[in-house]
Symmetry: C2
Amino acid sequence: MNSKTQNTSFQRQVPAGDTHERDVCTTCGFINYVNPKIVTGSIVRHNGKLLLCRRAIEPRTGFWTLPAGFMELGETAEQAAMREAREEANAEIVIDRLLAVYTIPRIAQVQIMYLAHLDGDAFSPGPESLDVMLASWDEIPWGELAFPSVRWALEQYRGVEGVTDFAPFSNPPGEFGGM
Amino acid sequence: MNSKTQNTSFQRQVPAGDTHERDVCTTCGFINYVNPKIVTGSIVRHNGKLLLCRRAIEPRTGFWTLPAGFMELGETAEQAAMREAREEANAEIVIDRLLAVYTIPRIAQVQIMYLAHLDGDAFSPGPESLDVMLASWDEIPWGELAFPSVRWALEQYRGVEGVTDFAPFSNPPGEFGGM
């Protein structure tokens, strides 16, 4: 995260024409804008089952998640979701449509979740995963999901499985991702 | 933007376990992750017309845009879109659904665009707007729109006006926001 500054010349100020306090360098005037970061991921379908990854890294090592991660510079949101499926599950995927956009204010994340399907049928654990599986609804380890938003995405998708045209979801009412 | 670093102790390195080069401080190990930033905005409807704002600030001063701007810490994407309508058009809005998620890689932006409607009927230019108006399709100043993504949102919305359930849009094929 870039919320840490390594220099004592920063002061909290509202820059001219701005509405929010920022860290402003009193030496050079540099303004360190800190904004939410984007996580992109996907529910990847294959023969009626869904691709889940068991996390090999913190946070929530050993718990199950959807392939997802921080979006990088120089890629589209869809390309970022495809890259994450490749990195975490050695899976090539095709993006079908947007499922949901969630905000987790506590950790300053916006999560953009797509519906996708496997391109081919290859998948295996990538370096950030202990294990990967294709799970039917009954096989999803609901008690061992890594994050609330993984549950949100799976439950919301279950309600529209087989439907093409629907409005994308956001946070369930009153839920903001507290663990 | 936080792409500028004010200190010569940074080196480009791939941190352990990472896949991308980052600016890493050789003194303290601080990693300056730079990721895309989020712009949220909305098409605001009122009596069949759409709310447009004439920009008072750079870039594209004098051109027409939708109320939109950078998402801040501590708010949801929907709250950010509501705040932007308040700041730019003194308008209270109700978010109806998500219209589109665009990526503009050249400027490292993801734009999250909602459909909304005016709550009440008050609106007027905020400090970042020279003028605001409610425009019918025929009144939209198509030749004086500030950004390609403003045109994308308006054109894509025109194709689904009156429809509730549709998959959200992304960049038009082959378009990445070049001016």
